[in-house]
């Protein structure tokens, strides 16, 4: 955690410098009173102060038992997390190409089969019923036009 805090503090410092620079380049207030850059600029300054405190306190702190434990989980769990994120990104990316019905169905199958290694029967039951239920609720009851593919599905 100690090392993680140091890295976080540096990332936040870079971010605050970026925010301050960006605020600096905003147009000045056209009317009387503080302009659009006022709050971002000071937020950047405050963030820099907090990040410095975080850095210094992490630097000076004696390493505790918790510090020696890894922050992020082991390979097995991390793989699951990455798979979910990849699946979700693919789902969002493809929703306007494949259409809502196909895309949602495939996403659920991916989650249950690839990520969770469930049996086919359960996977298909959940995928079909969830996709159908969501489609009925949103498309028909709430009258939302969900994305469709080139075949209109």
């Amino acid at each position: 955690m100690k090392k993680a805090d140091l890295i976080t503090a540096i990332v936040l410092l870079v971010l605050s410098g970026y925010v301050i620079q960006d605020a600096w380049q905003m147009p000045p207030s056209a009317t009387f009173g503080p302009g659009p850059s006022f709050l971002p600029f000071w937020l950047g300054v405050v963030l820099a102060v907090f990040a410095t405190i975080l850095f210094v306190s992490a630097w000076c702190r004696q390493a505790t038992k918790k510090d020696s434990e890894p922050v992020f989980p082991g390979k097995q769990a991390l793989l699951g997390i990455v798979l979910i994120l990849v699946g979700l990104a693919g789902y969002i990316f493809l929703v306007e190409v494949l259409g809502y019905l196909v895309d949602t169905f495939l996403f659920i199958v991916f989650l249950m089969k690839v990520v969770e290694h469930e049996k086919w029967r359960l996977t298909l039951t959940v995928a079909v019923s969830t996709t159908a239920a969501l489609f009925i609720i949103f498309q028909f009851l709430l009258q939302i036009k969900l994305p469709s593919n080139m075949f209109g599905l």
Binding site: D5, G33, F38, L88, E118
Partner: protein, 503 residues
Amino acid sequence: MDIFNNLILGFHVAASWENILFCFIGVLIGTLIGVLPGIGPTTGIAILIPITFGMSATTAIITLAGVYYGAMYGGSTTSILINLPGESASVMTMLDGYQMARKGRAGPALGMAALASFIAGTFAIIMLTLIAPPLASYAVSFGPPEYFALTFMGLTLVSALGGDKPLKAYISAVLGLLVACVGIDAISGVARFTYGSLNLLDGVGFIGMAIGLFAVSEILENMEEPIKQVFSDTKLGFRSLFPNLRDWKDSFGALWRGSLLGFFIGTLPGSGATLCSFIAYAVEKRISKHPEKFGTGAIEGVAAPEGANNAAAGGAMVPMLTLGIPSGAATAVMLGALMIHGLRPGPMLFSTNPQFVWGLIASMYIGNVFLVILNMPLIGIWVKFLKIPYNVLIPLILTISATGIFATDNNVFDMWIMFFFGLVGYVMRKLDFPAAPMVLALVIGRLVEMSLRQSLTISHGSISIFFTRPISGVLTVIALISLFFPLLRILWNRYRRGKKTTA
């Protein structure tokens, strides 16, 4: 007398078939969310917001509020039966509740949890009915400096009280305020931090961020350690649920102290139901004549935290409805929903939308009655829901979230916001940065900025305006004290240690 008339108006609104139905659906879903470990009330509310779009604002918030206080009931069930809290506010109920269950007294523990929830919940709504109107009419006179001081205090209190890492909470709040700056500045019309993206001109979508930070990151974190499935084979007859006279006598004091504490601490920004239940349990243990019984199955240990977390859910409504300031993550998300439905939160709500405010308050009386009915005779059914494997919940939560977010604006970009904040939220969880201050800051960010800039325009740039006006002066001082409180505590400890070594 006014209050009486207003309540009649409220019940008139709340008793329409539509509102009764959705109040019932809300508390039903709330109980379910409370029972299921791995999904908390904030996540539940955030996911459900898009589904409420077709409803009127009143019906929508009645439903979402129902989810919130309904979850407080449901959480106790798993705490008592399988020693696993359904949500964080029922962690304390576990200590004595599970011990009671092990001694074969699961029935009275569950019954006491439900009845204590009902009594404390109703007490909190009565207090809300009495306190909110005068507070709102007092707050109507607030100008920009008061609003800035109030929102500033809300942010510092949420960060200072919200956990044991105040510095990280402050950073989280500052980042949230920065996210709120994205988009077109309402005063000057300048686009900030948009980098030419048309999607960002309106600012970062609140629902996408909230669902990402709470729902998606929660799923990612739960991937690390698969949630254990524990079943309880306790047989629960309806009659066994009623605590006996002795139980009532033991928990009477705990119940009213828990209710009072829960309500008043619950009204403070940043407190939240979890903190209230911790405090209530600690107080009971301290003033008890036999503190050694706590943790071994004392019924007071169930009544106090359960009363406190339900009273806190009512107390949390006070600042949300009267001032437009959320007291924690769940109310922040609800406040965001309020704005999406076109209502302007703040003290004027009571005079401009009395049907909404009183309809909501009245629906909470009705909802509590529903809940006690749902939780007493039907408790066996809820326990069966624990058999739903978490593996089925993951795709459910993700697809409902993604579809709902798409539905808010018919825009795939909002789904990417959910994705981004899901990742950010997961990293924040791992690094001990709390998410609540960030969401709170995004919800009230615009109000913070407007009131700050308006105040400084009034005062010609002098910050003394926040100190010289009495109300904003008091609020600013409270905010500054809570901001520097962690620092003061460190200095105080050092001073005391220094004194000891010299002596």
